[in-house]
Symmetry: C2
């Protein structure tokens, strides 16, 4: 392991999610980093607000563990879950250069969040790989949005849920065979909101999957039994 002088980056050096984090590209630098620049492992209980739609964007949030939902509220007060963020991902990258948050982020479970000040990020945009890392993820986020637009209403409930599950497997880098197991931190209602379906439909679709032998469900725990059939399902 490389010796790091800065006490903050030293901790980053040992972080299990460092390969997903832009702090990684800072570790090699002699840059001075203070607690005002990076705050590590801030713990939030379930249903905490990380940031609020419309509030000034002072920080960038990295999900070290746990998960969050991004909720957008329109003028009529209708709420739409825009996306979920899992461990190793950033919250709301897409509109990074904007002055305010475009949606509200709420934890789905007890989560550890690392907080990067925007001032720090912008000041160090020149550092090799630092901003590039963030921008690359931002592109993924845009693509994701477009996929969501594509997915909504042109796919059946069956397909939508399948796409949703495979997306989790992909994003969480789970085994892409029949041994993928994971927990869905969000409620069925949240899932339904995100997928543009009624909660009852989500429930029925899960049951349908189980009957077909694609997955097993035990409350929030999902185990993939036949991922190839699941992939066929969504095409």
């Amino acid at each position: 392991m490389q010796f790091v002088f800065n006490p903050i980056l030293q901790r980053c050096c040992e972080c299990g999610k460092r390969s997903y984090c832009p702090a990684n590209s800072l570790i090699k630098t002699r840059i001075a980093v203070s607690k005002r620049d990076i705050l590590q492992n801030v713990s939030f209980p379930t249903d905490s607000y990380i940031c609020h739609q419309g509030a000034p964007r002072k920080n960038l949030f990295f999900v070290k563990s746990g998960s969050i939902k991004n909720v957008y509220t329109n003028e009529l007060g209708d709420q739409q879950i825009i996306d979920f963020r899992y461990a190793g991902e950033f919250i709301e990258l897409m509109s990074l250069e904007h002055s305010t948050h475009s949606s509200t982020a709420v934890t789905l479970e007890k989560s550890l969040i690392c907080v990067f000040s925007m001032r720090f990020i912008m000041a160090n945009r020149r550092i090799n790989g630092f901003l590039e890392n963030i921008q690359k993820r931002s592109e993924t986020e845009i693509r994701h949005h477009h996929e969501a637009l594509l997915s909504n209403n042109r796919h059946s409930a069956n397909k939508r849920l399948g796409i949703f599950l495979l997306d989790i497997i992909e994003r969480q880098s789970l085994n892409y065979d029949n041994s993928a197991m994971f927990q869905l931190a969000m409620s069925r209602t949240d899932m339904a909101n995100y997928l543009g379906l009624a909660p009852e439909t989500v429930s029925r679709t899960f049951s349908h999957y189980v009957k077909q032998g694609l997955i097993t469900v035990r409350k929030k725990n999902i185990a993939i039994k036949d991922i190839n059939k699941l992939i066929e399902f969504i095409v």
Copy 2:
């Protein structure tokens, strides 16, 4: 009128869409601008490709007249119209800092496009109001995306089309009374794709609107007869 030395910005000075254009904030400057920086009034016939998904983003495109559709294609080859852009708007602002285009832009009619080189934009980001103008529009674009996610599948075909029409009225700054008239440059099929509906449903919904006395339709020409009823429709 202010005297401008630069021959390119001088032309911008007389542009009917200058108040929507970031070039406006350049006019007061003594900055040197060449044809490599800004190309004005490039004419494209119907169904021309302005830029391609995945291609390097070398330029930013401003729709001076006409309109375009932004099409996203996924790995399976499914195409989704992400948005339409009308006169006075930019194409694909949301992902401005990305290195490649996130969707393909195609003209819906004969259009005049002004082309800003990205190199020029980034080099002059410090000029007062230049980048701010672009960023503000970018935020609008994100909000629009979120609204689209919200709109898809939770609203009926009736509402979706209503929202679509009111959006055009708003974006084109048409009279917000019962005298709004405009042309829909896109085909019903394009509309259907954008709205996530079957073309037949779009057609039926138009007929329904006409029967209700909300609008009159003559092929691509739309006239709003009762905008308040239309607004009630979408709530």
